[in-house]
Symmetry: C2
Subunit: 203 residues, 2 copies
């Protein structure tokens, strides 16, 4: 099916990759269509090949498929406002970063590089026809406890992965409205400047 | 031309996007081939559309084209071991993150989300036939000073963008060897676990 909200391609001012133009973070996941094991592995393979400072590869993923104990553990870490839609995803994951290099020194790029890996995973998932929605709204302490995340690793985000369905399946008016809202971004002059910093970057 | 080191596609265990499989971070940049203005704008357009926590879009880019004062300012922030190859790139950039939300609260995902934006930029550049190499080795304090980066923003990485050339153009044996070395990554069981944390993730 093609949900009504399939029109949310980025209003891009320059010709960018379809994958980037058409990716967005939905909430209306289809509880009846699982995510294939092979697709999970392809996404993780893409996540592996991200660049990182000193090739430290600080990214770590713990995931669970809908119906499994792992999925339920991750679901239980989510804020209630996320549970109400994310529980329909096919896969839930917690993304963590390793904070040090092998020699024990602090890795100042651990979070930045973990973001790069997740971006690769997201675009690979998009290429497979899947949809991903990252969440800051989860209880990191609870994730540490219930998933057994050891010292030296910090959970950064939760991710829902699955197939989209109609926005009308969402449980509240507000969620249904947000699902149809156009995507907005700062114009290029507000994120990039040539030669030196520009006041337009301060906002 | 097709440099000798064009064989560095990732030894991927699963079928991933060509863009991800073939991207790597070269040092042998071709000083004679500039990066088109239009390609810079397309890369920044891709960088705009990354996802971010609360749609805060914390990423900021300052860039300069080879031969410009901006390029020279960024080059002067690089570690000497990077200058010797990165000065041949067509564009140098400093990537910074805004540390707070609009309301002044700390944005705990500023670095992670900036990493996502750069990953989008890197894959878009790759799609345009360009090559990108991120560097942790630069003087962030000097970048703040010479580029006029204000309080509340922190420089995270430098990026070289350009066209590749033969590894033999690199100035040292060590750089020439590294340019031909195969790309290595942790196997999937060392970055991902199903259901709960696994000891294989600790290494």
């Amino acid at each position: 099916m093609s949900p009504e909200n399939a029109h949310k391609a980025a209003a891009a001012d320059h010709p960018i990759l379809d994958l980037i133009q058409n990716r967005w973070s939905p909430r209306a996941f289809d509880a009846n269509t699982p995510v294939l094991d092979s697709d999970v592995h392809i996404m993780l393979e893409a996540a592996r090949w991200a660049p990182s400072s000193n090739n430290a590869q600080p990214w770590r993923y713990v995931y669970g498929r809908r119906g499994s104990a792992g999925f339920d553990r991750i679901r239980a870490t989510l804020k209630e406002s996320n549970v109400i839609w994310a529980e329909n995803a096919g896969v839930l994951a917690i993304v963590a970063a390793r904070l040090t290099f092998d020699d024990g020194r602090l890795n100042p790029h651990a979070e930045y590089d973990t973001g790069q890996s997740v971006a690769f995973l997201v675009l690979q998932g998009t290429a497979l026809g899947l949809w991903l929605h990252q969440m800051a709204g989860f209880d990191a302490g609870k994730a540490v406890e219930t998933l057994g995340i050891p010292e030296g690793f910090v959970p950064l985000t939760a991710v829902a992965v699955g197939h989209r369905t109609d926005h009308l399946t969402l449980p509240t008016d507000r969620l249904r409205e947000r699902e149809l809202a156009p995507r907005k971004r700062r114009p290029i002059p507000n994120i990039a400047a040539e030669g030196t910093w520009s006041a337009a970057l301060n906002m």
